[in-house]
Symmetry: C2
Amino acid sequence: MSVIVWWLVTVVMVAVHSASAGVVELNWEVEYKLRWPDCKEGIVIAINGEFPGPTIDATAGDTVIVHVTNKLSTEGVVIHWHGIRQNGTPWADGAAGVTQCPINPGETFTYNFIVDKAGTHFYHGHYGMQRSAGLYGMMIVRSPKETLQYDGEFNLLLSDWWHQGSHAQELYLSSRPMRWIGEPQSLLINGRGQFNCSLAAYFNKGGVKECKFKDNDECAPTILRVEPLKVYRLRIASTTALASLNLAVEGHQLEVVEADGNYVAPFTVNDIDMYSGETYSVLLRTHNPTPSRKYWISVGVRGRKPNTTQALTVLHYADAPEYEHLPYPPPVTPRWDDYDRSKSFSKKIFAAKGYPPPPEKSDEQLFLLNTQNLMDKYTKWAINNVSLSVPATPYIGTIRYGLKTLNYQKPPGKEIVEDYDITKPPVNPNTTKGNGIYSFQLGRVVDVILQNSNVLNGRGSEIHPWHLHGHDFWVLGYGEGKFRLGVDEKTYNLNNPPLRNTVALYPYGWTALRFVTDNPGVWFFHCHIEPHLHMGMGVVFAEGVDQIAKMNIPNAVLGCGSTREFLMNRGRH
Amino acid sequence: MSVIVWWLVTVVMVAVHSASAGVVELNWEVEYKLRWPDCKEGIVIAINGEFPGPTIDATAGDTVIVHVTNKLSTEGVVIHWHGIRQNGTPWADGAAGVTQCPINPGETFTYNFIVDKAGTHFYHGHYGMQRSAGLYGMMIVRSPKETLQYDGEFNLLLSDWWHQGSHAQELYLSSRPMRWIGEPQSLLINGRGQFNCSLAAYFNKGGVKECKFKDNDECAPTILRVEPLKVYRLRIASTTALASLNLAVEGHQLEVVEADGNYVAPFTVNDIDMYSGETYSVLLRTHNPTPSRKYWISVGVRGRKPNTTQALTVLHYADAPEYEHLPYPPPVTPRWDDYDRSKSFSKKIFAAKGYPPPPEKSDEQLFLLNTQNLMDKYTKWAINNVSLSVPATPYIGTIRYGLKTLNYQKPPGKEIVEDYDITKPPVNPNTTKGNGIYSFQLGRVVDVILQNSNVLNGRGSEIHPWHLHGHDFWVLGYGEGKFRLGVDEKTYNLNNPPLRNTVALYPYGWTALRFVTDNPGVWFFHCHIEPHLHMGMGVVFAEGVDQIAKMNIPNAVLGCGSTREFLMNRGRH
């Protein structure tokens, strides 16, 4: 199959923007600022002085133009538009070293792309650990023909926060021996959390003190003010560096209707699990409490032994007394290691009616064994024994100009490693660094089987939320233990698998996904846990190498490394 | 006290330099490392894992080639070769935004230049506040025909150290209102200091505890091991971010013989004052103590109200008992605000015999009024009311290709401001940002009169050590109060003024210097206090603009901003 499957693209587009598409044009200055994200002063990366960055509000079909000026002192910067497929504009994907050179201090780079599909998205830094430093914000793409019905909406951008700065964290993780950064000090909802005080302190006599906010306190929570008997859409995105989360609203159920910008068959839960890189829309139906009152919204840690208190905010019914304490304590976050509960949630997610099923068969099968290894005594994450080292020259430029600095003809392994025991620490713990690039022809149906394994030392296996740039993929299934070739494929859901761009790989398990190589470009595929990516947990998919070589890629994204050298010198006279 | 011993290699400087000049070629990797500079863990910028960076040891006439690989995660980097005039290689001067683009992470840039003149020099980062982060090292250029006679030598590289990281410091200084970084926590000698302990604790009962070093402790002092009745050359450089220093050796006088790479008429003192950016060689003659013993070497703060304890190390005579306490306390640093004492030291410095006098008359007079101002409520340092904002494109490239992004035809003022009262805070405290560029034709004799003034708030005036790249200059004189045009010129020393590259501007005073524009290039001239430069305290001298426009400047230094755009696009086909 060597033809782009355009039928897929058109059908999946929930609503085609028929009227003349608009333009959303923004000027952004990115710089460090002193802020109080969790009632303790810290350094954040702000956009136009705002933390989190401004919310982008566009309509499907719009062109989004963002002029990003780097006002950091000595650091480069990029911005990745998480969930936007960048069809035809792969150089605007904002992944440093993959699709562009970092924007130098003092320079302005313009991102220019079409948001072809409605959904709840976000954007974030994708260079070093700048996402961890607070470079993120919401990106809402509205459907011109929204099929969901609701009366109001709220954005909830969830993140985690360390008091140690991101530069120090990078160094710790890169040190020999590796020094772990530990659990976050706070969880933030829309950039707001409380470290040394609690909104719910009066339920714990003698514990942390109650928060007393002053006007305009940067750590005062965003209150969700609602009317009775209405339907609200909560658009939730997790941009955590590390934490897997669970969100609950006291006394209210949540109807899940969207995941990663795709409608899902609605289902109702008491709380939702979220991994870094995921977005959801849930519908919340308000009651008519008499007397009017407030309810907790709580966000807690899952999947790692938590050492971080819940983030809290309040669902505030109209006319509820402003300063009255809430009558009950916040919802309790489910036990961190109740993975069955997590998987049960994941397995409730199916595509909404109307989505076509995936192609019945795949052309290629790519096994990605996730391991934690040692390399020259540095702790690394590796995929098929290769720990990703992103080169100084973006892949997209190296391929465009056929430079010899990248050998994309020699990918790491693709096959399942038959004799690898995923239940034990790696037998040979050593790994190598590499560019981790896999290239695909266009029009191929590719299955990726992510295989989890035991960590480097002791017994344990971690959750990894994998995020693919440039694509949605079908989540075909999850399984326990090692993937059984020729057997587990039969368990795939080929009927109504959800389309997503991020999916969890559970401890000691496997996750299978399918996508079609219909988007020429170079696409990052990586664990969305920022420390894991920093330690090498990613690969790169080069899609349509021949097409990339003919692309008109703006020089502005290639102004570093060997493409800069090549392009500057070819004009020498 | 168990310490690292840096055994002295005694070299009698009668080596004959062969007719053919040599090449010193080095491969450097620059990266952040966790170190214990003052017995407390901190993050330093190391070179090949060393902090301070490796000492360069070359001979006058040699070609020095340094391949610098940037291993920082997201930051650019450059290295300035402080004291090297870069005649014919102005693009190798290593001043970010002036003579080159920062080296991007993952890239290697090669500095290639001739060290034409013997002397005690050093090198350091010149981007953001990376010098403050520890990016520095010694650079010794030996004379093939050394006229000084000595039996051995030691390098002493002096610096100051903060526990707050340099990124946070940059942000504090750039915040509105400005947040001052405070005095350093420690002074370091060759990157080694002691914060929570003291070598001399036993003289202060109940105070800080005595240092107990373990083997290979990174904060154990460099001991100077000497023989009796010998002559030692101490090569001393100050690369402090802020502190002005005083160095004394207990029981020994110091004969000053070299300043900033130029021989001076020898004079003997009990201690020397040093400002950031200065280097000295002093000859120390050992006695014959019986029994053999140890003496203190102490370094303390001058010119600012100190809040930092002295840095200490030991002059250890052969056969002195290794673990015995020293009999007397360390030398006391002179009172911080005894400026007369400081000036008295400066005024003892004259060129050694044999140096020709400066040209008798100057062709141009450039007055540089140093003020502290407010700009849009940001605190800035300004020169003639312009606070330097280094552009994203290096001046040298903008001039080379005649790009319109820099208007060097419109310099800031050059004249003395007749009605400015330097004894009071600025009447109009507002200032503007600018590129601060002055251009000169070649072959001109230029006098620069640096004029100090009162700070922004309250009464006070600070010391500013001004450093000129690409040149030595003659220090014609120092004066009190406001420079009197037509009067103070008559006090100039035109007989034997010392040649230097750094000179102090004292509180409320003026300093006059003269240089000849004989080195085509773009040369930074700035206060060497890193926070002051960060806040705009500098100007740029473009020398021989017509010659620069014809220079063969390597593309590798122009790969950013508008020169990158220009050079990449001219090759488009």
